[in-house]
């Protein structure tokens, strides 16, 4: 029959860029799309916190202790409404959560980026040079990984003191080893392949082989680990703050907000802990959904 459209195969195949393929494969999971959407909303809210928050929760002049522990929906003394209630200092919970998200995401992303950078250098060095370099670096990694992350972070925070910068330092210290180990194992595999041999035969300079040939091919597993670890870093920061070792009490992050409200749970003032808890949960869940799908997309073994 002549009116039948020609089979698709007959059309010139579109030149599929790897990026477009990634996006298409990512979009196959609705949960992942939902997670991505949620994450975008959270990131935009966090970035826009100073403009969308009803109050600057870190400006003590804007807090009023007479408005403390009001339930969600209560009217403030100045005529506004506390949609999610207030904490023990009269801080608007909604504003507190927006600003808290800002801190959590900053800490999570910043510590991951630094940790990846450090882990990358050491992991690649270990894999490429092998021998005693490998042995020394990997033993350090082993020692680092044999301590529970929270314990190392606690000790560091107790000695360093409070502050966003110090939290990032502590989180980088406990996380770089994961990346070093991940990149080493994938680099060991890649190193055996012919294109590296070819590059060596061409007598290319070593840094060029490592960074231009070896590194790009080791990235997929690293991206997956890093995405998961952002969520881990955020929850670790919240844990430290919950234990009172993270940030100054006048600039609470989500963990500190939860900790403040924790004491009032038995007295029925649930909102002080509950809503920051929900915000933390949503953030970590969104990141994990995205990370899961990234793993599936980037894993060659799951390719159909």
């Amino acid at each position: 029959m002549s009116d039948i459209a020609p089979p698709a195969a007959a059309q010139p195949a579109p030149v599929e860029s790897p990026w477009r393929r990634l996006v298409a494969e990512f979009a196959e999971s609705r949960m992942a799309l939902f997670g991505l959407g949620l994450l975008v909303v959270i990131v935009v809210t966090a970035l826009a916190a100073p403009w969308v928050s009803p109050q600057n929760p870190y400006d003590l002049a804007q807090l009023d202790v007479m408005d403390s522990k009001l339930p969600p929906g209560a009217a403030s003394a100045t005529g506004g409404t506390y949609w999610l209630g207030t904490d023990d200092q009269g801080r608007d919970m909604l504003s507190g959560i927006f600003y808290g998200l800002r801190i959590s995401l900053t800490v999570g992303v910043a510590s991951t980026l630094f940790a990846v950078a450090i882990g990358l250098v050491f992991g690649l060095a270990a894999a490429y040079f092998g021998g005693w370099v490998d042995a020394v670096i990997m033993r350090i990694v082993d020692i680092q990984l044999s301590f529970p992350a929270i314990l190392v972070a606690l000790v560091l925070m107790a000695t360093l003191g409070q502050g966003v910068g110090k939290i990032v330092v502590a989180l980088v210290t406990v996380q770089w080893a994961y990346y070093a180990r991940t990149i080493r194992s994938s680099a060991l595999v890649e190193r055996q392949k012919e294109y590296i041999e070819a590059a060596k035969v061409l007598a290319l300079p070593q840094p060029r082989i490592v960074f231009r040939h070896l590194l790009p091919n080791c990235l997929p597993p690293l991206i997956v680990v890093a995405t998961v670890q952002v969520a881990h870093a955020i929850s670790l920061e919240a844990t430290l703050s919950f234990l009172g070792l993270g940030l100054p009490i006048t600039e609470p992050s989500l963990g500190l907000l939860i900790s403040n409200g924790f004491q009032y749970l038995l007295s029925g003032k649930y909102w002080i802990s509950f809503y920051p808890g929900v915000a933390l949960l949503a953030t970590i869940m969104a990141i994990n959904l995205v990370a899961d799908q990234m793993r599936d997309v980037l894993n060659p073994r799951l390719k159909r």
Binding site: L63, V65, Q89, P248, T250, Q263, Y264
Partner: protein, 526 residues
């Protein structure tokens, strides 16, 4: 067969009969906040120890729940002249081992107090004024002091008497093991495990009458939430220091009762006045040191006091378990002035005073305080920062554990210090002397004056009070000194803590101003 059943039934009936008639052991468990560091009554002058050891040992003079002095091992005492005191001792008092209590035991105690090895905080300050002891007869003893010392009865209320026979060679370890822990008190030593528990048994031969409990177990539960949980689960029948955040929960529940009382502890602020230099952590708004010390200016001190809304802190942060303070002790105590009222909340007035003092745009400072020592200490610090930010002082807050904080505060490393002070003697003269007199440790003046406030007029009134034997006259002088200091805002009093005890249904506690938790004051509710 029938016979066996009959015998068995008989045995059961007999058992039930004896059970019904043997009185059940009256036991009670109490949850304490802080660990007891020793059972040696002269080793460590620390409130939790002093409270615990009052069960086993007794002083010559005791303090009642309102900290008024009442007879204990001494039945009466009087000053014969400015330097001589005569004490009549109680007759027919027996030590836990059955031997009689006499004046010799008092002599031995006074000798032992200053030489307990390795004492972290000695009781010697209380016995130091006594230069000579004379035993007139087994139940009359005379003390001599080098200079007139009106506070002798109050000092001796802090010294627990131990027996000569058991204490002669005893070390602190012997007390902790219970070997030497032989007292005259209403309870006998049972068991002591540091940081865990202390078990006491009733002393049925107590001179003061029968106690309501046969066995008392004190459990150390430092974590407030765990302490609350222990009471909720009836693991203990009473806890001390109910967290303010749980007060609403307990007061709504008919299965529990709360007992509370204004304590002798004031929460206050010392302002750094060590020199005319800019105090630590006090700067201009862009972080440069100030050209002079603003805290030396009484107008600035007054402004900092007026900026605080004390009612808001008491109501919102302390859940009404605090009373706004105007001086160092609440109104019911000896030496307090009725003329002093808590500074009124007046942010506009405070701004005006700051402008007058030359700081129309305020300055910047950091509030330093503890986060684990006083009730809601870190929350109070934050709320203070709110108030100061409103009058134009850029305020930061840094709180830390007491162990780190106190030594640094003592060294003058902080400008604005949030502190607390409990007056064990229950009279305002001693707290003025310790916190505000011009510092002179050799004379025992200003020992805890971390702000280094100095006012010769107040010093003079106070020194006069300390050598005035007449109670009425002395009280007038102490009140005058308090007025001088407080009208000059020598320190900023914030509030008096209200101590709270939580009891399960069926138990009743008589609350005390000194925050002590005593089994003697816990009774079954009728």
């Amino acid at each position: 067969m029938l016979r066996t059943i009959r015998i068995a039934l008989g045995a059961i009936a007999f058992g039930a009969f004896t059970l019904a008639h043997a009185a059940p052991e009256r036991a009670v468990a109490i949850g304490l906040q802080a660990a007891i560091t020793s059972i040696d009554p002269h080793y460590h002058n620390l409130s939790p120890n002093n409270s615990m050891l009052l069960h086993i040992f007794e002083p010559l003079i005791m303090r009642d729940p309102n900290q008024k002095l009442v007879p204990a091992l001494a039945t009466s005492w009087k000053a014969i002249d400015d330097l001589t005191w005569e004490f009549k001792l109680r007759k027919n008092v027996k030590w836990h081992d059955g031997s009689p209590f006499t004046a010799e035991d008092v002599v031995f105690t006074l000798k032992r107090v200053p030489d307990v090895p390795n004492s972290p905080s000695s009781f010697a300050t209380f016995t130091k004024p006594i230069v000579d002891v004379k035993v007139v007869d087994p139940h009359t003893i005379v003390f001599k002091t080098a200079s007139p010392h009106v506070l002798l009865p109050s000092d001796l209320a802090s010294v627990l008497i131990v027996s000569r026979a058991n204490g002669e060679k005893a070390t602190t370890a012997d007390y902790n093991s219970g070997k030497a822990a032989i007292g005259t008190g209403p309870y006998k030593f049972g068991e002591y495990v540091q940081n865990q528990h202390v078990i006491l048994k009733a002393n049925y031969g107590y001179w003061g009458g029968e106690q309501p409990w046969d066995k008392v177990t004190f459990k150390i539960i430092s974590n407030p939430a765990a302490r609350v949980a222990a009471l909720l689960s009836r693991d203990v029948q009473m806890i001390e220091t109910v967290p303010t955040s749980d007060i609403a929960r307990f007061s709504q529940d008919a299965n529990f009762t709360l007992a509370d009382k204004v304590s002798n502890r004031v929460i206050y602020v010392h302002l750094w006045q060590w020199s005319d230099k800019s105090p630590p952590y006090v700067t201009t708004k862009d972080g440069k040191p100030l050209d002079k010390n603003p805290f030396k200016d009484a107008r600035v001190r007054k402004a900092l006091s007026m900026a605080i809304n004390r009612d808001a802190i008491a109501e919102r942060i302390m859940e009404k378990k605090a009373v706004p303070a105007a001086q160092l002790l609440a109104d019911s105590f000896y030496g307090t002035s009725r003329k002093l009222k808590p500074a009124k909340y007046d942010p506009e007035g405070a701004k005006k005073l700051l402008a007058e003092a030359g700081y129309p745009n305020g300055f910047a400072m950091t509030i330093h305080g503890t986060n684990n020592r006083y009730i809601n200490d870190d929350k109070i610090a934050q709320t203070l920062a709110q108030f100061y930010t409103r009058i134009g002082i850029d305020t930061k807050v840094e709180t830390m554990p007491a162990g780190v904080y106190f030594s640094k505060a003592t060294n003058g490393e902080y400008g604005y210090m949030l502190l607390g002070w409990g007056t064990e003697s229950g009279e305002q003269g001693s707290s003025l002397r310790s916190l505000l007199a011009t510092r002179d440790p050799a004379k025992g003046m200003g020992v805890n004056n971390r702000g280094r406030y100095s006012n010769p007029a107040m010093d003079e009134q106070l020194s006069k009070a300390l050598v005035t034997m007449d109670d009425k006259k002395r009280e007038g002088l102490i009140q005058l000194a308090a007025e001088t200091a407080m009208n000059d805002t020598a320190l900023i009093p914030i509030h008096f803590e209200v101590s709270t005890w939580g009891c399960a249904k069926g138990y009743r506690y008589t609350p005390r101003t000194d925050q002590y938790t005593l089994a003697m004051d816990l009774k079954p509710a009728k």
